[in-house]
Symmetry: C2
């Protein structure tokens, strides 16, 4: 059984909040663990409007230290403490993270009830968390800034006919899948003996803030979902690029070249009451595009043609 992976968008706006969109924050739940990507001001309250619990956050990944991406951290951490959290919280971010967050999270009066572990990332690392990895890419933005890639690990797919030859029930098969080899009825059986290919793990990429650049195409290659910033419409893209941002059109070009399955646009400028124009411009290049709304939930399903080699 594949894990349930779902995304909830707590904020989809860029630069500052608007009545329509809060600033950036995205939750990714894999089984019962919640990973949070960015934590703009107001994220804790947005989470309370959904069924993804802020108390279940295990790791937070900050793309960079512009206010619209991290100024909800202090409030979130303090509310966790007031609710007597004991579990450690890991926070990852680009260079500067330890200095900035040590200072930021010490401001005002409160008592922390749990340990916070800060990790600083240069870009290019692959962090292995067991069932999944998080890889990172330095983006084109005026301050140290990262894109993140969540990649569920590939899982050997069992060929039922082969398994039946060894008379392995589902419990024993799960053990075999985990351990790679077992002894069954006195015989050593290796995973290869019953395998019928690979179920490819799901891949979700979040660009953070960035001007368009070719490394992103490789980073997002073949992703199930590319969540890309799309601050403005195409007529404003030159200026946006100078400030380290992309247009919806440019995000779509990257999605197309990276051959992703679906493109979700976020970090919409507060100038847009609705983002119809942005979605339209992107769809002309990459049809499977959506501008995400605040509080929207998306279940990330296993790709059918990913289920076997």
């Amino acid at each position: 059984m594949a894990s349930t992976i779902r995304l909830v968008f707590f904020g989809t706006g860029g630069s500052w909040p608007s009545p329509e969109r809060n600033v950036m924050s995205i939750g990714l739940q894999v089984d019962s663990d919640v990973l949070l990507f960015d934590c703009g001001e107001g994220t804790q309250r947005q989470m309370m409007l959904t069924n993804m619990s802020f108390m279940k956050i295990k790791k937070i990944f900050i793309t960079h230290y512009h206010g619209d991406h991290f100024l909800g951290l202090a409030g979130l951490v303090q509310t966790m403490a007031l609710n007597d959290r004991k579990d450690p919280l890991e926070i990852y971010g680009p260079s500067g993270t330890v200095d900035i967050l040590t200072k930021y999270l010490s401001i005002g009066y409160y008592s922390l009830t749990f340990p916070i572990k800060l990790y600083e990332i240069e870009g290019g690392e692959i962090l292995d968390f067991g069932d999944y990895t998080i890889s990172t890419l330095r983006t084109l933005h005026p301050v140290p800034s990262l894109a993140y890639c969540f990649k569920e690990k590939d899982i050997p797919r069992i060929d039922k006919k082969k398994a039946d030859q060894y008379r392995l029930d589902s419990k024993i098969l799960e053990k075999l899948r985990k351990e790679g080899a077992i002894v069954h009825n006195g015989k050593t059986i290796r995973i290869e003996d019953v395998m019928g290919g690979i179920r490819r793990g799901r891949k979700i990429v979040y660009s953070g803030d960035t001007a368009p650049f070719s490394e992103m195409e490789k980073f997002a290659e073949d992703a199930d979902i590319l969540i890309h910033e799309a601050t403005v419409e195409s007529s404003l893209e030159d200026k946006a690029n100078q400030y380290g941002h992309s247009s919806a059109r440019q995000a779509a070009l990257i999605a197309k070249k990276a051959k992703v399955r679906e493109l979700l646009l976020v970090h919409i400028s507060p100038r847009y009451k609705n983002a119809n124009l942005l979605e339209k411009e992107a769809k002309q290049i990459f049809p499977n595009t959506k501008v995400v709304k605040d509080l929207q939930e998306i279940i990330v399903r296993v790709r059918k043609n990913q289920s076997s080699e």
Copy 2:
């Protein structure tokens, strides 16, 4: 003509936000100037849902440095800068303000486009801002914490009959009211010559966070509006008092002793989905009580029996 004074409640919840209430922040508009009392996380976005402009804020008064009262400051200041504010911003708060806010407002990457002036207050001061004063009181809370009193200055009331004797039109009367004395048709006329009493200035008190204490009764004496914290119901007041908070019942006792005109309850604990019980308990002691809702607006009218001596 009396100035328009209105209050807008951007957040009325205590400790942490809930779907029903954001954390503390109250706007007071007097003519076109906006004063902000407390600035919990998410205040800027709450303001955007009302017709009180965050760009018009002249002064911010922070009661204390628990997160639910100030963690919206950085985002607000950064959004003002991104919107190219030039006017200076004054921020007042209890002891610790200069250290805490200098550190807090320097975190992350942004460029300030306007000067911020920080003022530290011990409690007991009266700040004179021309048409009104702000006086302060140290409250009963575990960290340095203030209550604030906005007091419009008393204005000489013109006796129409007396003014008619001197043939003074409204423009000249306004000049006389401002300057105290004028020369008109070769004659010196003093304000006393045309006065028929005093229009008493409106008085609005905000308690901030506090356990109940008798100094608050004096501080709030005869106020038009007392905005008092009411974290819990009466059955929980002992524990609340230990943490430096009040029950709705205790807030009502203060309103009654202080003989205020109206009591507005705020800083409602997130445990309450609705605050009916709190309002009911307070009304039994002080009938003219309301538990305020987020985004509620209240026009502060001149008291009829305040219009003359």
